[in-house]
C-alpha cells in the first residue's frame, strides 16, 4: 500500500500506458507521434519502477528512473535531430515511405 493506493492500480495504470504507447508505435506512421509513444512506454516503465521502489522502500529503483530519464532525454535529442535531417532531405517523416534501408 502506497499512500492508501494499492500497487495493483499502479500496475494497471502503467500497463495501460505501455499498451497505449505500444499500439501507438505500431499503428501510427508519423515519426513524431511514434517518438511520443516511445516516451509514453518509457514513462510507463518509470512509473512502475518508482512504485515498486516505494513499495520495497529501496532507492535503487528510483536511481534507475533517473538513468532512464537521462538516456531518454539524450535519445530524444538525437532522434529529433535525425528526424529533422530526414525531413529536410526527404520532405516527409512517414515511416512507410522511409524504407530505403531495406535495400
Amino acid at each position: 500500500m502506497i499512500n492508501g493506493i494499492s500497487i495493483n492500480y499502479y500496475l494497471l495504470l502503467s500497463a495501460v500506458l505501455f499498451i497505449i504507447g505500444a499500439i501507438g508505435v505500431m499503428a501510427r506512421r508519423n515519426s513524431i507521434i511514434i517518438f511520443m509513444c516511445i516516451e509514453l512506454m518509457l514513462n510507463a516503465v518509470n512509473l512502475l519502477l518508482v512504485a515498486f521502489s516505494t513499495l520495497h522502500a529501496d532507492a535503487s529503483g528510483q536511481v534507475f528512473v533517473f538513468f532512464i530519464m537521462a538516456v531518454a532525454a539524450a535519445e530524444v535529442a538525437v532522434g529529433l535531430a535525425i528526424l529533422s535531417m530526414i525531413y529536410r532531405n526527404v520532405k516527409t517523416i512517414d515511416t512507410d515511405i522511409l524504407s530505403n534501408l531495406k535495400n
Binding site: A22, M26, R29, T95, D96, S99, K102
Partner: protein, 628 residues
C-alpha cells in the same frame, strides 16, 4: 681390411659426386677415368676383403657406420655385413662393373651426355653395393630402390625420346609394385621379430608359426618378382633395352636383376621353413623361364632377344632357389653375369659397328668383319647354351639336377626352357654373323671392329665365361665345389643330394644331347635352309604371331590396368569429386544462401511491421513462460 668395408661403396659415391658436380667442366676422358678408377679401387678393396675373409675363421663381420632410424623398439643402424655371400657379390658387381665402365668409355665416346652417363653408372654401383652389403632388410631396401632409380635414369638416358622415357617410367613403376611387397614384408619381419637385422631375425625364425614365415617369404618374393623380372612383373625388362647397351649389360643382365636372387638367398632361412613359399618360387621361376624363352624365339631385336633370355635365365635361377639349391643359383648368377654381360657387350659392339642398327634381319655375315666380337660372342653363346666345359653348363646342370630331385616335372620344363635358349641364341648368332649382309650399303661400308677399350672387356669376360665353371664343379665328380663350400655358413643347407650317380650322369647326358640337338636344328633352319625371319607386316601363322607379339601381355596390362586407372582417375575427378562431394559442400552453402534470401523478404523496411512482430514475439515468449 674388413673394417674398411665402408670404403667399397664410398669410392663409387665419390666418383658420382665428382662427375655429378663437375662433369660438365672436366674433359670426357677425365670423367671416364674418374668413374672407372673409383670402381677399380672398390674392386681391389673387394678382392682384398674377399681374400681376408677366406682366411679368417669368423665368416661374418658387421661394421656399424652410424645409427639411421630409431623408433622405440625399431632400431635400424646403418650397418654393413661382410660374409661369403656379400663378398662374392661385391666381386661380381665391382669386377664386371669395372669392365663395363671401361667398355662404356669407348661405347659412349660420341655421346654428349658422357659425364652424365658415368655419374649415373657410378651411382648405380654405389646403390648396388649397398644392396648386397646391408646388414638389415632396410639397407637392402635402400639399395634396392636406389638401383631402381638408376635404372630409371639410365633407361631414359636419351631423354628426348618419348618411347625411351615411357620404358624408363614403366620400369620404375613396375619395380615399385614389387617394392611395396618388399616393404610390407620388411614391416612384417619387424612386427614378427622385433628387429630387421639378419642375424637376429634368422636366429628366431624357427620359433615363429610357419604361416607367418610363409607370409613374409611371399611378400619378399613379390619384391624379387619386380626387381628380377619374373611373371607377372617382367614386362619392363625387355622395354628397358631402350637404355645404352652397357647399361643393359651391367644393370639389366649382370647385377641389378639378380638382386631378387640375392635377397632370397639371403633369406633362405624363411624359404627353407616355408614349403608353400619355396614351391611358389619354383613354379613362378619355371613358368617364367619357359614363357620368356618362348617369346625369345621370334624376336628380331638383338637386345630384346638377350633381354628375354635374361628373364628366362632368371626364371631358371628362381627354379633353383625354389628347390632349395641356393648355392647353385648363386653359381648361376655368377656364370650368367659373365656370359650375359659378354653377350650384351658383344651385341653393343655389333650395334656400334652397324651404326645403331639393332634388327638382326638387317645384319648377317659379320663374322669376318668384326672378328673379336664374333669369337667372344660365340663363346658366350656356347656358354649360355649349356655345352660343356663352358661355365653355363655346370651351373645350369646343377640347378636342373636339384630340380629333378625335387620334382621331375619341374626338371622337364626347365630342360625345355634351356633347349629353347640354345635355339634362339644360335638363331641370333647365325643370323647376325653368317650368311649375306642384309643391311644398307652405307652400313656395310661403315662396318668396323670396336676400339680396344670395348674389345678388352669382351676378351676378359670371354675367358671367365669359359673358365667360370671351375667355381662349382659337380659334387659327384668328387671335385671340390668351391661355390657350395664357400656359402656354407650363409645357407641353411638341406640334406645333401641322395640321387644315385647314374641318374646324375643321365641328366647331364640328356642336357648335353638336347643342347647339341637343338643347336643342330637351328643350324639346319638358319644355315642350311637360310630361313630368314618374316618381315614386318608379313602374314604369320597364328602361334608365331602370338609369340612374336609377346603373347599380347603388354596390351593386356594396358587394357586391364593402365587404361582403367586413367578412366577411373577422370571419373573420380570429374564426377565423384566435383559433382558429388563438392556438390554436397556447395549444396550446403546454397541451402544456407537460399534460406537467407527467403527470410530476407521479411525485412521490408516497414517499422510498423517490425514493431508488431516484436510485440507478437514478446507475447509469444511470455505465453510460453507462463504456460509451461
Amino acid at each position: 681390411m674388413i673394417k674398411l668395408i665402408g670404403l667399397v661403396p664410398l669410392f663409387p659415391l665419390i666418383g658420382f659426386l665428382i662427375n655429378g658436380f663437375f662433369g660438365k667442366k672436366i674433359s670426357k676422358g677425365l670423367s671416364g677415368i674418374i668413374a672407372s678408377v673409383s670402381i677399380l679401387a672398390s674392386f681391389i678393396l673387394s678382392v682384398l676383403i674377399f681374400m681376408e675373409l677366406n682366411h679368417s675363421e669368423n665368416k661374418s663381420h658387421i661394421v656399424n657406420l652410424f645409427s639411421w632410424i630409431n623408433s622405440d623398439t625399431l632400431i635400424i643402424p646403418f650397418e654393413l655385413l661382410v660374409d661369403p655371400l656379400s663378398s662374392l657379390f661385391l666381386l661380381i658387381i665391382t669386377g664386371i662393373g669395372f669392365l663395363i665402365h671401361i667398355y662404356s668409355i669407348g661405347y659412349m665416346s660420341h655421346d654428349e651426355g658422357f659425364a652424365r652417363f658415368f655419374t649415373y653408372l657410378n651411382l648405380f654401383v654405389f646403390f648396388m653395393l649397398l644392396l648386397v652389403l646391408g646388414n638389415n632388410y632396410l639397407i637392402m631396401f635402400v639399395g634396392w630402390e636406389g638401383v631402381g632409380l638408376c635404372s630409371y635414369l639410365l633407361i631414359g638416358f636419351w631423354f628426348k625420346n618419348t618411347a625411351y622415357n615411357n620404358a624408363a617410367r614403366k620400369a620404375f613403376v613396375m619395380n615399385r609394385i614389387g617394392d611395396l611387397g618388399f616393404l610390407l614384408g620388411i614391416i612384417l619381419v619387424f612386427v614378427t621379430f622385433g628387429s630387421i637385422s639378419y642375424n637376429e631375425v634368422f636366429a628366431k625364425a624357427g620359433t615363429v608359426p610357419t604361416h607367418v614365415i610363409t607370409c613374409i617369404a611371399l611378400l619378399l618374393f613379390v619384391g624379387a618378382m619386380g626387381k628380377s623380372a619374373q611373371l607377372p612383373l617382367y614386362t619392363w625388362l625387355p622395354d628397358a633395352m631402350a637404355g645404352p647397351t652397357p647399361v643393359s649389360a651391367l644393370i639389366h643382365a649382370a647385377t641389378m636383376v639378380t638382386a631378387g636372387i640375392y635377397m632370397i638367398v639371403r633369406s633362405n632361412v624363411f624359404y627353407s621353413i616355408s614349403e608353400v613359399a619355396s614351391e611358389t618360387v619354383a613354379i613362378v621361376g619355371v613358368i617364367t623361364a619357359l614363357f620368356a624363352a618362348t617369346i625369345g624365339l621370334f624376336q628380331n631385336d638383338i637386345k630384346k632377344i638377350l633381354a628375354y633370355s635374361t628373364v628366362s635365365q632368371l626364371g631358371l635361377m628362381f627354379l633353383g632357389l625354389g628347390v632349395g639349391a641356393y648355392s647353385s643359383s648363386v653359381f648361376h648368377v655368377t656364370t650368367h653375369a659373365f656370359f650375359k654381360a659378354l653377350l650384351f657387350l658383344g651385341a653393343g659392339s655389333v650395334i656400334h659397328a652397324m651404326g645403331g642398327e639393332q634388327d638382326i634381319r638387317k645384319m648377317g655375315g659379320l663374322s669376318s668383319k668384326i672378328k673379336i666380337t664374333f669369337i667372344t660372342m660365340l663363346i658366350g653363346t656356347i656358354a649360355i647354351s649349356g655345352i660343356p666345359p663352358f661355365s653355363g653348363f655346370f651351373s645350369k646342370d646343377e640347378i636342373l639336377a636339384h630340380a629333378y630331385e625335387h620334382s621331375p616335372v619341374l626338371w622337364f620344363f626347365g630342360q625345355v626352357a634351356s633347349m629353347l635358349t640354345a635355339f634362339y641364341m644360335f638363331r641370333l648368332l647365325f643370323l647376325t654373323f653368317y650368311g649375306k649382309f642384309r643391311g644398307t650399303h652405307d652400313q656395310e661400308h661403315h662396318l668396323h671392329e670396336s676400339p680396344p677399350s670395348m674389345t678388352f672387356p669382351l676378351i676378359v669376360l670371354a675367358i671367365f665365361s669359359v673358365l667360370g665353371g671351375l667355381l662349382g664343379l659337380p659334387e659327384f665328380w668328387h671335385m671340390p665345389n668351391w661355390m657350395a663350400n664357400n656359402l656354407e655358413t650363409v645357407i641353411l643347407r638341406k640334406d645333401p643330394s641322395t640321387m644315385p650317380h647314374e641318374t646324375e650322369w643321365m641328366l647331364m647326358g640328356i642336357a648335353v644331347l638336347a643342347a647339341i640337338a637343338t643347336i643342330y636344328f637351328a643350324y639346319i633352319v638358319y644355315m642350311q635352309k637360310k630361313t630368314l625371319p618374316l618381315k614386318e607386316g608379313d602374314k604369320m601363322p597364328g602361334f608365331q604371331k602370338l609369340v612374336y607379339n609377346k603373347f599380347y601381355v603388354d596390351e593386356f596390362y594396358n587394357a586391364v590396368i593402365t587404361k582403367p586407372l586413367d578412366v577411373l582417375s577422370v571419373a573420380f575427378h570429374k564426377f565423384f569429386d566435383i559433382q558429388i562431394i563438392d556438390g554436397i559442400v556447395n549444396g550446403v552453402g546454397s541451402a544456407v544462401k537460399g534460406i537467407g534470401s527467403g527470410i530476407r523478404l521479411l525485412q521490408q523496411g516497414n517499422i510498423g511491421f517490425y514493431v508488431i512482430s516484436m510485440v507478437i514475439g514478446i507475447v509469444f515468449i511470455m505465453l510460453l513462460t507462463f504456460l509451461i
